[in-house]
């Protein structure tokens, strides 16, 4: 057995501790895979006094993360600080001296990955980021390498465990959104400030990364159309169930159009998903990604999308890949974003108004004669078919609710129709509009 490969871990939070634990617990098996041991020799910690759930014996701890990135005698670095800055500067410092880096930092990769990867290429080092999407599920490797023979037609994923936990609670117990969120916070599934998760930005970061490796397009987080789950109600979840659907927060990337008209859709939104699909059945904090390739058809992946150990699983897999590549000619490596950097080509982003799907609509209406006939007349005038409709008798003094699912239409046509409906005197509110995806 040759000399150990020395690993520095920047940040000893949940993920950093998980990495230290995993490299110690499975040291023998990992050495049998790589041919050399992988040993954490350095770690940076902000608060040295804090109790940690890992054994730090044999590890030199530094208070200064930048010192670790710039100077420590290590072969590989793991960045688990998160956020854009100073994580970016730490990674760039490590790359500048030719050290390859593993990161779980989806925000940084999605928002400034193009710069990070260019810096890596300039120094002959690598940046690996399997842990940035869907935690322990090796979906980056699957899409980038395992499905590399395919032209990917679309992918869709439940890529935020917090939102999926909240929606599952709402589905199973009829809990209101706010209560389900508090429950998630109490269990540590949601942050004190949950905005990033529940407003869909975290999913959008992950989707931007997946889309880039699937389609060979540049990272383009800013083009993702994002809608979070704060407007989903138990009532809509329950009506969706009657229609044979479940409501999930999905990230969807899809090719659209043909030939020179070709573009891609990039969107994160609550989605009605048929209840007999795998995505509909993925509950709680689990993540799942389904990819459709022209040769392979539909391939699905599921597992834990977060948590120290699951994320550490992805970080250590990346470390093992990088350890094998130490000293190798970088030209033989898999490109970070699946395609050769000079072969990455932007495709037009389809504006949301043009993106076609079926739609779910729930209107609050006064309980009076002629309501349905006027609503359906408007839909017909926009050439929109009604695929499913539900109106139940209102209880007590409630308004009546009319819920329906349309045929597949571009959003602008749906919006025009809904705007006309809103102008009707008996329509109190358009209470919910969500996309429906059948994945057929």
């Amino acid at each position: 057995m040759s000399a150990a490969i020395k690993v520095g871990v920047i940040g000893l939070g949940t993920v950093g501790q998980g990495v230290v634990r995993l490299l110690k617990n499975n040291a023998d098996e990992i050495a049998r895979r790589v041919g050399r041991p992988l040993v954490v020799t350095h770690a940076s910690v902000r608060d040295a006094g804090k109790a940690r759930d890992c054994d730090l014996s044999g590890i030199t701890t530094l208070a200064d993360a930048m010192q670790l990135a710039r100077e420590a005698d290590v072969d590989l670095l793991v960045e688990t600080v998160g956020g854009i800055s100073p994580a970016r500067e730490l990674i760039l410092a490590a790359l500048a001296r030719g050290k390859s880096v593993v990161t779980a930092n989806k925000a940084l990769i999605a928002e400034d990955g193009n710069r990070v990867f260019a810096a890596a290429r300039a120094s002959g080092a690598s940046v690996a980021f399997e842990a940035a999407v869907a935690g322990g599920i090796p979906v980056i490797k699957a899409v980038r390498e395992g499905l590399a023979g395919n032209r990917v037609e679309r992918l869709a994923g439940i890529i935020n465990g917090t939102c999926n936990y909240i929606l599952t609670q709402m589905q199973e117990n009829g809990t209101a959104f706010d209560d389900a969120l508090r429950d998630a916070q109490r269990l540590g599934y949601a942050e004190a400030d949950p905005t990033f998760d529940i407003e869909g930005m975290d999913s959008a970061h992950k989707l931007a990364i997946l889309a880039s490796i699937a389609f060979g397009t540049p990272l383009d987080y800013g083009s993702v159309a994002v809608e979070g789950i704060t407007r989903v109600t138990p009532q809509d979840i329950q009506i969706a169930q009657v229609f044979g659907y479940r409501i999930k927060l999905l990230g969807i990337a899809k090719r659209s159009g043909k030939g020179s008209e070709q573009g891609i859709e990039l969107r994160v939104h609550p989605t009605l998903v048929p209840d007999n699909t795998l995505l509909a059945k993925v509950d709680g904090v689990l993540n799942s990604v389904v990819v459709r390739g022209d040769a392979v058809g539909e391939v699905g992946f599921y597992g834990r999308g977060a948590g120290g150990d699951a994320t550490a699983s992805a970080v250590v897999a990346d470390l093992i890949d990088l350890a094998r590549g130490l000293g190798a000619d970088a030209r033989h490596a898999v490109p970070a974003l699946a395609f050769q950097p000079d072969a990455v080509r932007a495709l037009p982003i389809v504006p949301s108004a043009e993106v076609a799907s079926a739609f779910y609509l729930r209107l609050k209406v006064a309980d009076e004669p002629g309501v349905l006939s006027k609503l359906t007349a408007i839909l017909a005038s926009h050439d929109i078919s009604v695929e499913a409709i539900l109106q139940r008798e209102p209880r007590g003094h409630e308004d009546a609710n009319v819920a329906l699912i349309t045929s597949v239409i571009p959003q602008h046509r749906f919006d025009h129709a809904v705007n006309e409906m809103r102008a009707l005197p008996f329509v109190r509110e358009d209470a919910a509009r969500f996309r429906v995806e059948k994945f057929d």
Copy 2:
């Protein structure tokens, strides 16, 4: 763009044609990934006059497969002949002259892979075989690389689409086994001689490969305990459903015992699976593999396990990996069986009699008083609990059926109890014995 990478395809059956099609259809994207085009320049065909569903223009066809393997001016070879011989000799001939090979040949890898990989190492070439297990699902890569940080505790898979199709038909339509098999043959899902699929050998080949890369053990097809699906009846499927289970043919590899007592279970058999698990929901010709790692927890994969295009997807992914590695130092490559060859270590195989699980038992019994009391007394005397039991009133002159599910016990204890039951005068037949796996 540099010079094209030349690929030779040995055998132009369903998979070979799929590979030719895919490399042509997606030529531009594949070149953008690799940095060089991948072009099929040679193919061997037994019957040159046969119509094929792919464009052979620009491809030199040879009648002699061995000539292609030994002499053709190619960079990489694809073997799609199948079976042990002459596939093995063709691959060894290609490796002998330093050409790396992609194969979908599970029988060869499972039964003689150790020799094939040794030949590859001796010549500095590689053998890639993603397509050998679960068709288009990149499960080899996932287990070997994506989950490499984990100590794998167990894996279980539906890895034969023919059997899953037959069992699904039996489940959904109450079809008898023979009729479902004929149906599968008519649709091309089963061979004219279906023995290999329905008797479980095909699943055993795939399981042996998965187990080796998961545990770092040598390939050991001969040690897989195999039972096919021919004894599964619609009646057992229906009773299992009442108990909350579905019957699936699973390949299961599992660590068992602790410390020096450690061994592995390798088994293929019809299994009662709780109906709320992913495996229970994978129907028709689809495949699915679920892996449990110590860090990642449960990770699942599903997709098409067979068919020309899905299998070609895996073959081309391997070709892309090998194309990237052309000219690279082989010491940096991922070992074929995940672990360094000198670090592969055999673990004792747990004999079937010692393998513990819950069991499903159905007995045909005469309809007379005291039956249940005598049966349950025998179970109690062997310290076996009854977790579920069903007896329905017999119709007409039928024997009565008693079906039950036991607690988790080693098979020898179950067998002893069943043997005692068989000796009872009112027991006509032990009509079905299957293992139950709860995956908790």
